[in-house]
C-alpha cells in the first residue's frame, strides 16, 4: 500500500454533505494541488463520522486533529499551516461543548486522562523483569530512605498520617495495624502479603505482581522494617503462574542487589521473602485461613480475636496486607503523608484500582482518586455500555459485595459510601451489567460460588447458604412462592449474624442486596413466571419471544418463512398481534436487541422478516382471509364497548370478536388507527397499508362507530349501562407544551398537530427554517416531514445527549441523511416574535452533563452565559403528550394523566372497565399498546366468564422442530433497501423498499432456533 505523510479524512456522510462538505472537499483538493502536495497528502472521504452537528469536518492524521464546522476559506489556512508547515490551526479545532476549550487530539480520551496512578505507577511502563528500570524510577529509594533516615516508629507514623486503608476490601487503617503488630511482645514477627486475589472479576493484584513486582517487594520490606520482622511470605494464587514467575525472579534480583537479605543499606536491617502458592480455595482470601494455608494446613478460618497482629503466622505477631496496599507504600514514604492525603477524599485518601469488566466498552484496569463518582468511572472512563444498551447495575466487592443500581451512579466511590449502598469496596472488581443480566440469576451465581467455597466448618454457612440456594433455584425455575423473598431475607440475616468468618458472614449479601434494589424482578419470577433478561431458561422459549411485549412466537414464524409458508407465518403472528404490516414497518423491535445471533455476528432482521410476510399477505390474497371461518364461532351473547380505535383498542376488539363477543368500537375522529393514522407520516407507514390492515381486523366482525366521542357524543354512563364490559384505549393525544414565553406566537405548533394535517393531505406552509424540540420518534417524524415540505434548514434540538434520544438509531441515521441537523444538549428558553406576533427565532441555552438520573442518563444542566439565538420560521414541539382522562367518572388517574390500573389485569378502579396503551403509560410503543390490548381482552374474557386463558396455556406446548440447517458461519444481517435520500426527501413515498423473497428466506436461515433446545 502507498503511504502518505498525512491522511485527511473528510466526512461525506449525509449530515455533512448537506452542510456543504462537497465544497470543502473540492477546495481542499485544489489547495493541495496548488502547493504540490498531492504525493504526500491523501484525502479520504469517509462515511458519517457521527457528530453531524459539527459538520463539515475533517480529521488530519497522524496527529488526529479534528477540525469542525469548516468554511471553505478555512481550508486554505489549514493546508498552508498544518499540511504544509506542520502547525495545527487551533482556531478551527473541535471545542469542548462545556468548557469551550479546543480539543485537538482524539487521543485525549478520558480513559487515560481521568486516571491518577500511584499503585500502578510503573505498571505498563517499565520492564518488570529489570530491577534496574525499577531503580531508575526511584525504586527502592523509599526503602533506602526509611532504613537510613527514619526510625521504625517514624515509618509507622507516616503511614498512619497518610490515612492509607487496606485495599483488600475492609479498609482497615494500615498504619494502625502496623502499630499493633509492632507493639506485640512475641518474636519473631512476620509480614504476609495476601495475593490470593480470589474475588472473581478483580485482577489488579495480578497486574501489579506481573507488571511491577519490585514495588510489592519494597512495600513488604518497608512493613518489615516498621514492625521489626525479618521474614515475609507472599501467598499467591496458583491461577496466576506468570505472577509467580515474575515475583520469583524479582526476589532473586533483589537478593543479588542486596535489597533483600542481611544488613540492607548498611542499616543492620535483615529481610527476606518467600512465595507460597495457593491451591484453589476462595476462603484462603480470609486472613486466618490464608495463614493456616501458609502453614501447610487446610485453609479453614478461625474465630477472631486474637487478631494476626497478636497471633498470626505460627501464632506470632503478623502484619497481613494485600498487594495494592503494599504497592502504595513506597510513594507514601517518598512523597509524604500530606501529598497522599491531598488525593482522594477525607476518610478515604489516595486512589483505588478498579478492574473494569463485564458489559462495558473499555474493559481494563483503572486507578482513580477515591471518591470519583461511580458513573464517571463507568461512562467516562469505561466508555459506557457495549452497544449502548441500558445500564442495569454495577457489582463491586466480589461474592461478598453487592450491586448498585442506576440510581446510585452518583455515589462517590469510597469505603463508607459503598457500604451505605449495601455493598463493599472489596478488592476493586467493578463488573458492569446491562439489561441482559438477570438479578435472580446473578444472586444465584454468587451464592453458588460461596456454597461451593464454603469450608464447611460452621453450620450457618454450610447449611444456610445451601437452603438459600435451593430457594433461589426454585425462583429461577418459576416455582417460587410469594413468601420465598421474605424467607430469603430472614435466612440471610441469620447467616450474617452467626457464621464464623468473613466468607460466611458476607455470603448472603448478594442476595439481600439484589432483593433490596431489584425486588420487582424477584416478584416477576415468582408471580408472573417471567424473566425479563431472558436468562432463566425454564421461564421462556426464545429470548426474542420473551422480549416481545406481545409475546409473538418469533422463531415459529421465522421457521414458516424458511419453509416458504408465508401465510402460516402471518397467521402465527396474528395469534398475538393483529398488526403485522404496521409492526413490520414501525416496531421498535425489542426482539432484535435480545437476539442471540448477535453474539455470533449480528442480530436477525426480525422486523424485516415480519414485514415481508405481511406484505405477501396484503399483496396476494384477499381470499386468504381466514376470518370467514372465525365468524362461525359460537357467539357468546355478551357486549363489549371499546373506546378508541387505535392499536390498543383495535387489538382488544379483534380478539374479543373472534372469541365470540359482540364488540363495538367508538372512535372520536372519523378514521380508525389512532396515532398510526394521524401521527405517523406516510413515508414510514403508507395510508393504504394501514387501511388494509384495519380492514382485515374489521373482518372479524367488529362494529365500528366513528365520529363518536365518549363523554361528548355519547355519555360515559350510557356506555356503561349498555355494555357488559368496557375497554378504554383512548391514547395520549394532547400534546405537552414547553411552558416558555412566546409559545402562542404564530409559527409555533405541536408536532402532533403538524403531522395530523399532513396525514389529512394538507401541506402546511412552514417557511424556510424549522426547529423541532424533542428527541423521540414524533420529533424525527416532524423534522423529516418538514424536509419533505421543502424547508431549507431543519434542526432538532434535544436537551440531553444524542444517545439518550428515545428515537430508534435508524431514524437518526435516516434523518441525518435527509439533511436534518441534530443538536444535543440544547434547550429552548423563549420564543422571539415580531410585532405581528409571528415567530422569528428561539432563544436557546446550551446544557452540560450533570449528575445521573434514575435511568442512568445524565441530567442536563444549563450553562450560564451560553444563551444564543436560533432563527426559525416554524417551531415544532414534540416533547410528549397526555391522555384526556378526566371525562370518565369514577376512574382514578395519576398526576401524569394516565389511568390507574391493576398491572396484572389492566382493570381500572371500576369493575369491568379495563384500559391499555398510551392512556395508562404515556406515549409508548405500538407493540406495547398491542400487547396491552390483548392482555385486556384476556382479562375481559375472564371477567365475563370465559376460559380463553386456560385454553391458551393448555395449547402452549408447540412442537419445536428444525426443518432446515442453521447457517453457522458468520454472515451479516439482511440490509433493508431504502430510497436514496436525495429522492425521498422530495416526497412522502414510503422509504423502505419491498424485500426480495430469496434474500428473506436466506435471512430466516440465520435463526439459531433458540426455541428448539
Amino acid at each position: 500500500m502507498k503511504l502518505y505523510r498525512n491522511h485527511v479524512l473528510v466526512c461525506g456522510g449525509g449530515g455533512c454533505q448537506s452542510s456543504g462538505c462537497q465544497t470543502i472537499r473540492e477546495r481542499l483538493m485544489d489547495s493541495i494541488k496548488e502547493r504540490g502536495l498531492e504525493a504526500e497528502i491523501k484525502v479520504v472521504v469517509t462515511g458519517c463520522m457521527g457528530p453531524c452537528s459539527l459538520g463539515p469536518m475533517m480529521i488530519v492524521y497522524p496527529e488526529a486533529i479534528l477540525y469542525c464546522r469548516l468554511q471553505p476559506e478555512n481550508v486554505d489556512v489549514i493546508v498552508e499551516k498544518h499540511l504544509y508547515q506542520g502547525i495545527p490551526v487551533e482556531d478551527y479545532f473541535y471545542r469542548d461543548p462545556y468548557t469551550d476549550e479546543p480539543i485537538g487530539r482524539i487521543q485525549d480520551i478520558p480513559f487515560f486522562t481521568r486516571q491518577r496512578k500511584i499503585a500502578l505507577r510503573n505498571v505498563g511502563l517499565i520492564d518488570p523483569l529489570s530491577i534496574e528500570e525499577y531503580i531508575a524510577f526511584d525504586g527502592y529509594f523509599a526503602l533506602a530512605k526509611a532504613v537510613t533516615l527514619h526510625t521504625p516508629e517514624d515509618v509507622i507514623r507516616i503511614v498512619k498520617e497518610s490515612g492509607l486503608r487496606g485495599r483488600g476490601g475492609a479498609g482497615f487503617p494500615t498504619g494502625l495495624k502496623w502499630e499493633f503488630t509492632s507493639k506485640a511482645k512475641e518474636k519473631p514477627k512476620y509480614v504476609v502479603c495476601n495475593a490470593d486475589e480470589g474475588d472473581p472479576g478483580a485482577f489488579m493484584d495480578r497486574s501489579i505482581i506481573e507488571g511491577d513486582p519490585h514495588s510489592l517487594i519494597e512495600g513488604m520490606a518497608l512493613a518489615g522494617y516498621a514492625i521489626g520482622a525479618n521474614q515475609g511470605y507472599v501467598y499467591v494464587r496458583a491461577e496466576y503462574p506468570m505472577a509467580v514467575e515474575h515475583l520469583q525472579k524479582a526476589i532473586e534480583q533483589a537478593r543479588n542487589y542486596g535489597l533483600l537479605g542481611s544488613d540492607i543499606f548498611g542499616s543492620g536491617f535483615n529481610f527476606d521473602l518467600e512465595i507460597r502458592v495457593g491451591a484453589g480455595a476462595f476462603v484462603c482470601g480470609e486472613e486466618t485461613a490464608l495463614l493456616a494455608s501458609v502453614e501447610g494446613r487446610r485453609g479453614e478460618p478461625r474465630p477472631k480475636p486474637p487478631y494476626p497482629a497478636q497471633a498470626g503466622l505460627w501464632n506470632k505477631p503478623t502484619v497481613i496486607n494485600n498487594v495494592e496496599t503494599y504497592a502504595n507504600l513506597p510513594s507514601i514514604i517518598l512523597e509524604g503523608s500530606e501529598w497522599f492525603r491531598s488525593i482522594g477524599n477525607e476518610k478515604s485518601p489516595g486512589t483505588k484500582v478498579f478492574a473494569l469488566a463485564g458489559q462495558v466498552v473499555n474493559t481494563g484496569l483503572v486507578e482513580v482518586p477515591m471518591g470519583t463518582p461511580l458513573g464517571d468511572i463507568i461512562f467516562d472512563i469505561g466508555g459506557g455500555i457495549i452497544g449502548k444498551r441500558d445500564f442495569k447495575a454495577a457489582q463491586t466487592g466480589g461474592p461478598s459485595g453487592g450491586c448498585i443500581p442506576a440510581s446510585g451512579l452518583n455515589v462517590p466511590v469510597d469505603y463508607e459510601s459503598l457500604r451505605e449502598w449495601g455493598t463493599i469496596m472489596g478488592s476493586g472488581g467493578l463488573i458492569v451489567m446491562d439489561e441482559n443480566t438477570c438479578m435472580v440469576d446473578l444472586a444465584k451465581f454468587f451464592l453458588d460460588f460461596c456454597q461451593d467455597e464454603s469450608c464447611g466448618k460452621c453450620i450457618p454457612c454450610r447449611m444456610g447458604t445451601k437452603r438459600m440456594l435451593e430457594m433461589l433455584q426454585r425462583v429461577s425455575e418459576g416455582k417460587g412462592r410469594p413468601e420465598d423473598i421474605d424467607t430469603l431475607l430472614e435466612l440471610g440475616e441469620d447467616i450474617m449474624n452467626t457464621a464464623l468468618c468473613g466468607l460466611g458472614q458476607t455470603a448472603p449479601n448478594p442476595v439481600l442486596n439484589t432483593i433490596r434494589y431489584f425486588r420487582d424482578e424477584y416478584e416477576e419470577h415468582i408471580n408472573s413466571k417471567y424473566c425479563r433478561a431472558s436468562v432463566c431458561a425454564s421461564l421462556f422459549t426464545a429470548p426474542c419471544q420473551n422480549a416481545c411485549p406481545a409475546d409473538v412466537d418469533v422463531p415459529q414464524y421465522i421457521e414458516y418463512i424458511q419453509r416458504g409458508m408465508y401465510m402460516d407465518a402471518v397467521r402465527s403472528i396474528r395469534e398475538k398481534n393483529p398488526f403485522p404490516s404496521v409492526c413490520g414497518r414501525l416496531c421498535t423491535h425489542p426482539c432484535e436487541e435480545r437476539c442471540r445471533r448477535d453474539q455470533l455476528d449480528e442480530s436477525m432482521a426480525i422486523r424485516s422478516l415480519k414485514r415481508f410476510a405481511a406484505d405477501y399477505e396484503l399483496k396476494n390474497a384477499e381470499a386468504f382471509y381466514f376470518d370467514a371461518e372465525l365468524k362461525k364461532l359460537p357467539r357468546k351473547g355478551k357486549k363489549v364497548a371499546v373506546i378508541g380505535g387505535g392499536p390498543a383498542g383495535l387489538t382488544a376488539a379483534y380478539y374479543l370478536a373472534i372469541w365470540g363477543y359482540d364488540v363495538t368500537v367508538f372512535e372520536a375522529s372519523d378514521k380508525l388507527g389512532g396515532m398510526l393514522n394521524y401521527a405517523v407520516p406516510p413515508y414510514r407507514l403508507p395510508n393504504d397499508v394501514l387501511q388494509k390492515e384495519i380492514d382485515i381486523i374489521l373482518n372479524s366482525g367488529v362494529n365500528v362507530i366513528t365520529g363518536m366521542k365518549a363523554g361528548r357524543d355519547i355519555s360515559w354512563d350510557a356506555i356503561r349501562r349498555n355494555f357488559d364490559a368496557v375497554f378504554l384505549g383512548i391514547g395520549a393525544q394532547q400534546p405537552v407544551k414547553l411552558g416558555i414565553k412566546g409559545e402562542d406566537a404564530k409559527g409555533v405548533i405541536t408536532a402532533l398537530e403538524f403531522l395530523r394535517r399532513i396525514n389529512e393531505g394538507e401541506r402546511p406552509d412552514i417557511g424556510e427554517k424549522v426547529v423541532v424540540i424533542g428527541g423521540g420518534s414524533t420529533a424525527f417524524d416532524a423534522a423529516r416531514s418538514a424536509v419533505r415540505l421543502g424547508a431549507r434548514e431543519v434542526a432538532i434540538l434535544y436537551r440531553r445527549s444524542k444517545w439518550d434520544m428515545p428515537a430508534l438509531p435508524e431514524e437518526k441515521v435516516h434523518a441525518a441523511e435527509e439533511g436534518v441537523r441534530i443538536y444535543d444538549y440544547i434547550a429552548p428558553l423563549e420564543i422571539i416574535a415580531d410585532e405581528q406576533g409571528r415567530m422569528e427565532g428561539v432563544w436557546c441555552i446550551r446544557m452540560a452533563k450533570g449528575e445521573f438520573d434514575n435511568t442512568a442518563r445524565r441530567k442536563p444542566v444549563p450553562i450560564e452565559g451560553s444563551e444564543f439565538k436560533m432563527e426559525a420560521d416554524t417551531l415544532l414541539i414534540a416533547i410528549g403528550a397526555q391522555g384526556e382522562v378526566e371525562g370518565f367518572e369514577g376512574i382514578d388517574f395519576t398526576r401524569w394523566k394516565t389511568f390507574r390500573v391493576n398491572p396484572d389485569t389492566l382493570e381500572t378502579s371500576i369493575k369491568g372497565v379495563f384500559a391499555g396503551g398510551d392512556c395508562i403509560r404515556g406515549p409508548d410503543t405500538v407493540i406495547q399498546s398491542i400487547a396491552d390490548g390483548r392482555k385486556a381482552a384476556l382479562s375481559i374474557d375472564k371477567y365475563l366468564g370465559g376460559d380463553q386463558e386456560e385454553k391458551e396455556t393448555a395449547q402452549q406446548a408447540r412442537k419445536r422442530q428444525i426443518y432446515a440447517p442453521v447457517i453457522e458461519q458468520e454472515r451479516k444481517r439482511l440490509r433493508v433497501p431504502v430510497l436514496d435520500p436525495q429522492v425521498r426527501k422530495m416526497n412522502f413515498d414510503e422509504i423502505e423498499l419491498p424485500f426480495d423473497e430469496e434474500a428473506c428466506r436466506q435471512e430466516a436461515l440465520r435463526c439459531l432456533r433458540c426455541d428448539a433446545d
Binding site: 495457593g278 491451591a279 484453589g280 501447610g296 457489582q395 453474539q599
Partner: protein, 169 residues
C-alpha cells in the same frame, strides 16, 4: 508397604522425581502444599500412591494429606485429559456468557464439566477467575488462553483438536 500397580506403570523415572521433591522440601516449615503442587506438576494429578509416599516421608498421617488434597480445588485425584479444558466462571466471564460456553463444550464432547472423555483426550473443568476479566469469556486449553470466546470459535477450536487427537493416535 505394598507397591501399587499404578506405581509400576508410572515408571521409575517419575517415582524418582517424587522422591526428590519430597527430599527437597521435607525439612521446611509448612511444606506440604508446595510438595503436593510439585508432585502434581510432574504426575498431572495426585494418585493415592503418591499421597502415601508424602505421608510416609514427611511423617504426616495419610488422612491429613488426603484432607488437604480434597480441600483445595486445584489438587486432583483424577487424571485430566490430554487436552485439559478450563472454562473460567469468574463474574466477568459469567455475565458475558461463560455458561453458554460450558453447555456447548459439554455438548460437543459428550461429557459433563469435571469429567474426562473415555479416550482420555479431553477433560472439561470449570475454573475460578483467572484474572483475564477484560477479555471474557475466557477458556484455557492446557497452557493456551483463548479470549472473547463465542459459539463458533469454541466449535472451531474443539473440532481442530479432535482432528489432531485422532490424527496423532
Amino acid at each position: 508397604m505394598l507397591v501399587s500397580v499404578q506405581q509400576i506403570e508410572i515408571g521409575q523415572e517419575q517415582s524418582q522425581r517424587v522422591e526428590e521433591i519430597i527430599e527437597a522440601y521435607k525439612h521446611k516449615p509448612g511444606a506440604l502444599i508446595p510438595v503436593l503442587h510439585e508432585i502434581q506438576n510432574v504426575l498431572g494429578h495426585l494418585p493415592m500412591w503418591a499421597q502415601q509416599r508424602v505421608s510416609d516421608a514427611m511423617k504426616i498421617p495419610l488422612s491429613e494429606v488426603n484432607s488437604i488434597v480434597s480441600f483445595y480445588a486445584l489438587f486432583s485425584e483424577k487424571p485430566k485429559g490430554k487436552y485439559s479444558i478450563g472454562v473460567c466462571k469468574g463474574t466477568a466471564c459469567y455475565v458475558r456468557g461463560a455458561d453458554k460456553i460450558i453447555e456447548q463444550l459439554q455438548e460437543l464432547l459428550g461429557i459433563e464439566a469435571g469429567d474426562t472423555t473415555p479416550d482420555g483426550n479431553f477433560s472439561i473443568e470449570v475454573v475460578r477467575c483467572i484474572g483475564a476479566c477484560g477479555l471474557g469469556p475466557v477458556v484455557t486449553i492446557n497452557d493456551t488462553v483463548y479470549t472473547r470466546m463465542k459459539a463458533d470459535k469454541v466449535k472451531a477450536v474443539i473440532t481442530s483438536l479432535i482432528k489432531q487427537a485422532e490424527g496423532g493416535g
